[in-house]
Amino acid sequence: MNSASLLLIVFAIALAGWFLGRRRALAMAGGDARRLHSLSGHHGQAVFLFAAVPALLVMFVWLFVQPIVTEARIGDAIRANGLFRQISPSLVMSDVRRVAHGLDLMVDRGQIDEKGLAALGADGSELRARLGRVGVAVGGNVGGDVLAAARTLRRDNHRGAVGMAVAVVAVALAGLVWSLSRISVEFRARNVSENFVLTLFFGASLVAVLTTIGIVGSLLFETVHFFRIYPARDFFFSFTWSPQFRGGSDLGIWPLLWGTLYVSLVALILAVPVGLMSAIYLSEYASKPLRAVVKPLLEILAGIPTVVYGLFALMTVGPFLRDMIAEPMGLGSSSSSVMTGGLVMGIMLIPFVSSLSDDIIHAVPQGLRDGSFGLGATQSETVRQVILPAALPGIVGAILLAASRAIGETMIVVMGVGAAARMGLNPFEAMTTITVKIVSQLTGDTEFASPETLVAFALAMALFVFTLGLNVVALVVVRKYREQYE
């Protein structure tokens, strides 16, 4: 029995519990639902939950724990066997797993039955070929010990699956019976469903928090690993980035950080004023019908995948800037440049800044506008002296969000800025950013042991700390103005 059908069975039991619970509650109230503390639906729901949730939890834990237990047992057996002293146990283990899986497939396709399986000898290449026919590739001929271990693994897995099915169904039925027995006229089934909803919401918010902790944890782990094999001083204070696959790399973060900041700066210099002004136009000057058309258009612009912007940079903006500005002025001959990527990234961020700021400006109370107009202020005086100060905390937030996006942007940089780690002031030169280097260090031949790949984690950590710092600054700025203005 596989997990999917077990799920269906649990669901069926719970559904039956729903109807039984409702019926029982109604029967206890003598058919008069008004006598019940909770609606009959709540009683049904409570039974459903007590039948399904504990059973699913048992199933989840079982699925998680069983492989650990069985593989630990087989691993012990492998280690105890002197034959495998030369090869690492984990490699043998993966062979065992593959063979066991192949045997399962063979049985499933009817190529062999359990009796034939028991008689199967470890006649090397023959078994290997048969496994190959069901799509399982094994590195070498299957030895007798591996086959034996695979048989044990199959048996254990099979027993585990049966055990799990029995346990899960038992728990589901127990939950069903227990919660049915709890039903009475006074039973507060409504509160049960209330608590369940609370738990659900709490769990959902926990997911985000736990994921963040998990991400930071794994980053931290690999970063520490990196700094053990590469000196931190070189990483933080070297101005050279030149990874060598033969070793002896220079992995200084500064050229990348510089590129990141330079490109982001160009992007923000374009996006913030343009976005803010268009937001002011939209929320303060534009007529309602115009706003109704333009705002969704802007939001569509914000939804274009960045790789499309990257194409725009590569095919249009880059060559244009090179031919019209960089080459005539003798500033460079590369179509990938900080200016190209920065401008396109800025274009990408304009709708982002303007849409967020527009919402914020729109939320400024009408009373403030009236008050200013009532004193004989013009519209632009009102905007500059009343609306913008009032909306400032939100606008700062919007700008910092945009900055975070600029710093984390990858596709536009790959296609528009280039891949050359370089520290320079000329915006018409190709440079590169942290994100691009993270990708390029991790793609290709990945063995997580050399500083050349592990540096990606240190870079990611630096990026994380950097954006975190930016958010903290935003928070402080916003709080300061909040105190002053509200």
Binding site: S287, K288, P365, G367, L368, R369, D370, G371, S372, F373, G374, L375, G376, A377, T378, E381, Q385, V386, P389, A390, Q484, Y485, E486
Partner: protein, 256 residues
């Protein structure tokens, strides 16, 4: 400026439409200088709408249409040549809900003088601000914290700050749209006292829900009902000897 009994604002045959809704029907009112004129009437009778016509605040509402003539010192304020921004500097407004700007107390009061360039030096501006705050009976409470945010004041103080802000712009007419409806009785009493003092320099028009307030602060009262101006006259006469049965019903509490 005209003398104490002179005509300040003359509205003739004013109609206001919000889209299809006929909010003000053929209203004519003469507002005297250096007098407090109260507009009373049940909710939705158009008194606030009419008030907002007097400084063209309704211009900011797209669907609002105004016809008829409203003259300030004999000049039609809806004339093409009149700049509504300049008009609003002459006809100031205080709103129902206190709406101090997100600035310091000083900057709130200095807002009008600054945008209209009324002062030549910082010293002069300081003087204008102090005078306005004194006029609004707020100076003693805030003189030590002029750089504190205006939004940090209590509701009554905020409303007095808004009055000081309007006064600092040196308007000729002050329109007040239910200035006390968000305030407690003590703050209300302070504002009413203030209104009475302001009468010395301005023409004040106040919209109020409270008939006691109209009786206390105003010399002339206009009663609006369903967009019509039902009755307009001396406050004493409106409250003691109303001519129209609708006015009588309203002030005795039978309608409203």
């Amino acid at each position: 400026m005209s003398d104490a009994t002179g005509l300040k604002i003359a509205a003739r045959d004013v109609d206001v439409f919000y889209g299809d809704h006929h909010a003000i029907k053929d209203v004519s009112v003469a507002i005297a200088d250096r007098t407090v004129t109260a507009f009373i009437g049940p909710s939705g009778c158009g008194k606030s709408t009419f008030l907002r016509c007097l400084n063209r605040m309704n211009d900011t509402i797209d669907v609002c249409r105004v016809s008829g003539t409203i003259e300030l010192d004999g000049e039609d304020i809806y004339d093409r040549r009149v700049d509504p921004v300049q008009l609003r500097a002459r006809v100031g407004m205080v709103f129902q809900k206190p709406n101090p700007f997100p600035k310091s107390i000083f900057d709130n009061v200095a807002y009008g003088p600054r945008i209209h360039g009324l002062t030549r030096s910082r010293g002069e501006l300081d003087e204008v601000v102090e005078n306005a705050l004194r006029r609004a009976a707020l100076w003693d409470e805030v003189k030590d914290r002029l750089s504190a945010p205006g939004t940090g004041l209590s509701g009554g103080q905020q409303q007095r700050l808004c009055i000081a802000r309007a006064v600092a712009t040196a308007p000729e007419v002050l329109l007040m749209d239910e200035p006390c409806s968000a305030l407690d009785p003590i703050a209300t009493a302070q504002i009413e006292e203030l209104i009475d003092e302001l009468r010395g320099n301005f023409s004040v028009v106040i919209v109020t829900h409270s008939m006691q307030q109209a009786a206390r602060v105003s010399q002339r009262t206009a009663f609006f009902h369903l967009g019509d101006l039902v009755e307009f006259g001396e406050t004493g006469q409106i409250f003691t000897n109303p001519q129209d049965p609708r006015t009588e019903s309203y002030i005795t509490g039978r309608i409203g």
